[in-house]
């Protein structure tokens, strides 16, 4: 039997010293910055409740808010496109790009564009996509997908990035030792791209129905240059992003950056809509492409709470499994706990259903989720769905057998106690010898031997002798 992809990829990731050193560097910063940021507000718990309430309310009447959003954008001279699949999204964006006669496109960070593999489609159509977010730019040079939804190049080390830059930029001999060197060079190179671009493609963090506005949160200002300089701005985002009002949007902004990067608010938090008469500049064409890709099927289902997600990345920053194996092990643009829920639901390949099993249910993700998504509980539901629909997972027969035995408590007591006595006899210096069947435990750690007869058996014997 071949081992599932996630197991193989995670094993490689664990054995990759470069990846491990990159993860070790990134991990403590994310955790500390978030915890410092929430300590600076007196009522973070209330802010989370408010943000969750906003997200739940918008999902409850999603069709209404999407309808209002579309009417407002259209009335202001923009265009809203509905993409039920990632195929649709690619086709819609390509049509707009071709109509604009585009040869090059700048891109801000958009997880929806990643989900739809938009860059590949643009390239195939002869349009050169140029990532402007530093992390996205790095992984574009490396030809890799993102490994984190907020920090896409988290898995890259400084020397690796320097190598990528030396290969990609014909700039001769120069110092590329420090972070500053790398950032300066990226800034110089990317700046020229903004001025050449025919279209700009960005994601959106929030859509505001009331005014047909999209909210863009970045720390590099790249999103704003991408959205503002070309004559056509295309927003690729998903249907779950809409909220009713600016008040609602601010409830999300209060928890988003604090949870993601430990900032009170992102360095650039911008609000865009179609260009209005009297505006001195800005794109003439404003398009919003709203991706569904099975999200609407989650509405009203037991997985609806997953759509509350505001894509802050706190769950993966605090997940010991993600931190051990990195984002690429998940083979999905959405890794970590939120990805382990979303990937089977949105993509749904059989291998994706192993991801919900890759959790100890330690609960740290739920503890830090700014909109209180019950991630362990959703993962558990997906395990049940997996067993229900795919019937077999390695070893589940053993659990079924154990449960069957446990239904006969007296038989269970006698049988398990006999097993304990037997294994205690095998013990060497308090530990079990290497036994077939215990390999998964014993390869990396010792297994303590049972003390002897089971507690229940001993308790009964002692009470009888009283």
């Amino acid at each position: 039997m071949t081992e599932p992809g996630f197991i193989l990829r995670s094993r490689e990731a664990l054995a990759d010293p470069v990846l491990q050193s990159a993860m070790d560097k990134a991990r403590p910063g994310f955790v500390r910055k978030r915890s410092d940021a929430i300590a600076r507000v007196a009522n973070f718990s209330e802010l989370r409740d408010k943000a969750r309430e906003v997200r739940q309310r918008s999902l409850r009447d999603l069709d209404v808010y999407l309808g209002i959003f579309e009417r407002r954008v259209t009335a202001a001279g923009g265009h809203v496109h509905w993409a039920s699949s990632t195929d649709d999204l690619r086709r819609i964006v390509l049509d707009i790009a071709k109509a604009a006669g585009a040869r090059t496109a700048t891109k801000g960070k958009s997880m929806i564009a990643e989900e739809a593999e938009l860059n590949q489609a643009l390239e195939a159509a002869g349009i050169s996509p140029r990532e402007t977010d530093l992390g996205e730019y790095i992984i574009q040079l490396a030809g890799e997908p993102p490994s984190h939804i907020v920090a896409p190049a988290l898995h890259k080390t400084r020397p690796q990035i320097a190598d990528l830059f030396r290969t990609a930029h014909a700039l001769g001999e120069r110092q590329l030792e420090t972070v500053q060197d790398l950032v300066d060079e990226a800034r110089r190179v990317i700046r020229s791209h903004y001025l050449e671009a025919d279209i700009g493609i960005t994601g959106a963090n929030i859509l505001i129905a009331d005014t047909g506005t999209m909210v863009l949160c970045t720390n590099e200002g790249n999103g704003d240059l991408t959205a503002s300089l070309p004559d056509t701005h295309i927003v690729t985002t998903s249907i779950d992003k809409v909220v009713a009002s600016w008040d609602d949007a601010s409830a999300i902004l209060r928890v988003l950056a604090r949870s993601a990067t430990g900032q009170a608010i992102t360095t650039y938090t911008s609000f865009y809509g179609p260009r209005q008469p009297g505006d001195l500049d800005g794109p003439s064409h404003f398009h919003v492409v709203l991706l569904d890709n099975r999200r609407s099927s989650l509405l009203g289902s037991e997985y609806q709470e997953m759509l509350q997600c505001i894509k802050c990345g706190a769950c993966m920053n605090h997940c010991p499994v993600y931190q051990a194996v990195g984002g690429h092990s998940y083979d999905s643009v959405y890794p970590g706990p939120m990805g382990a829920v979303l990937t089977p639901l949105l993509r749904g390949e059989r291998g994706d259903y192993l991801l919900p099993h890759a959790s100890t249910f330690c609960g740290r993700c739920e503890e830090v989720c700014p909109v209180r998504i019950p991630l362990p509980s959703l993962l558990r539901k997906l395990r049940e769905k997996d067993v229900r629909e795919h019937h077999q997972r390695g070893g589940i027969w053993l659990i079924r057998f154990y449960v069957a035995l446990a239904r006969f408590p007296r038989l269970y007591r006698v049988a398990t106690s006999a097993l304990s006595v037997l294994s205690a006899k095998l013990a060497k210096r308090g530990k079990l010898p290497r036994l077939p069947g215990l390999g998964a435990w014993q390869r990396k750690r010792d297994m303590a031997a049972p003390q002897g007869a089971s507690f229940q058996q001993q308790w009964r014997a002692r009470r009888k002798s009283r």
Binding site: I7, S10, R11, L14, P320, V321, A324, V325, H357, A358, S359, T360, F361, C362, G363, R364, E366, S377, R380, R383, E384, K385, D386, V387, G395, I396, I399, R400, Y402, V403, A406, R407, P409, Y412, R413, T416, S417, L419, S420, A427, G430, K431, A440, W441, R443, K444, R445, D446, M447, A448, A449, P450, Q451, A453, S454, F455, Q456, Q458, W459, R460
Partner: protein, 260 residues
């Protein structure tokens, strides 16, 4: 103890958990001794598995069968006390979510109201203090307490074992990343053995960096994982025990994974 409780001694049904039952009965006896010292009458009803292993592996129907069985086994006791945060949370938090019909939900909620993790019950319900007069296992020792995830996050257990230990004069030190999972996770540790091994390696390294004499915790399974890794890495001088053994001064048995 107050006068009220002297009049009516609470009857506690001890749910030992599979791991304690089969691997370390000393924890069950220590738990019973503590409860009796705190003025309870302890019974050990016939019991097997609470169903958590089924529930967490997608076998909902099997979990419901075992939950019904356990609730019936413990129908007649005032309290159900469990020396494990993980199993206690299964009974207390998860049982009420297993069912869909109102009658079952109400029964599970009534049951859940009687369920306590051991240190919570001793500290929060009984206001018990292990008496310093009891000869203790040496309070000059350096002790690390491992907060297991389900106890910490699903039941909010953190101060209770520390308070109980403090009355024995024991102060607990917290290693780096003390709130991060040890990598046990039930069947996770064998289904994803490499990831689990990495997690427990980090945990063991952080613990060993404190050079403690003793590691205590409230969940035997996590302790088996941690002890197994510490010993594999040659840290044989660190004793790993369930907190009940320490509180009840039941340390005459060798520590986890050790022999006479």
């Amino acid at each position: 103890m107050t006068d009220d409780s002297a009049v009516k001694t609470p009857v506690v049904g001890l749910f030992a958990t599979c791991a304690v039952d089969l691997i370390r009965p000393a924890v069950g006896f220590a738990s019973a001794a503590l409860l009796e010292d705190a003025g309870c009458t302890v019974t050990v009803p016939e019991q097997s598995c609470c169903g958590q292993v089924a529930w967490n592996n997608g076998l909902g129907a099997e979990a419901r069968v075992l939950a019904r069985q356990l609730m019936a086994q413990f129908a007649d006791v005032d309290y159900v006390v469990v020396p494990s945060g993980s199993c206690a949370s299964m009974l207390k938090n998860h049982y009420p979510t297993l069912f869909s019909n109102p009658q079952d939900i109400l029964a599970a909620q009534e049951f859940a109201g009687r369920v306590y993790e051991l240190t919570c019950f001793l500290r929060d319900v009984l206001d018990y203090r292990p008496s310093p007069a009891q000869p203790t296992a040496g309070n000059e020792k350096k002790v690390v307490y491992h907060d297991s995830c389900a106890g910490l996050r699903e039941l909010g257990i953190r101060t209770q074992p520390r308070d109980l230990l403090a009355s024995l004069g024991v102060t607990v030190v917290d290693p780096q990343d003390c709130d991060v999972c040890c990598g046990f996770g039930g069947t996770f540790c064998v289904k994803f053995e490499d990831i689990s091994a990495k997690m427990v390696a980090d945990k063991a390294r952080n613990i060993a960096a404190q050079a403690p004499d003793v590691v205590l915790g409230g969940d035997l399974t996590c302790l088996l994982n941690i002890a197994g890794k510490l010993q594999r890495d040659g840290h044989d001088h660190i004793d790993v025990r369930h907190v009940a053994e320490y509180l009840a001064d039941a340390t005459q048995h060798p520590a986890i994974g050790h022999s006479e």
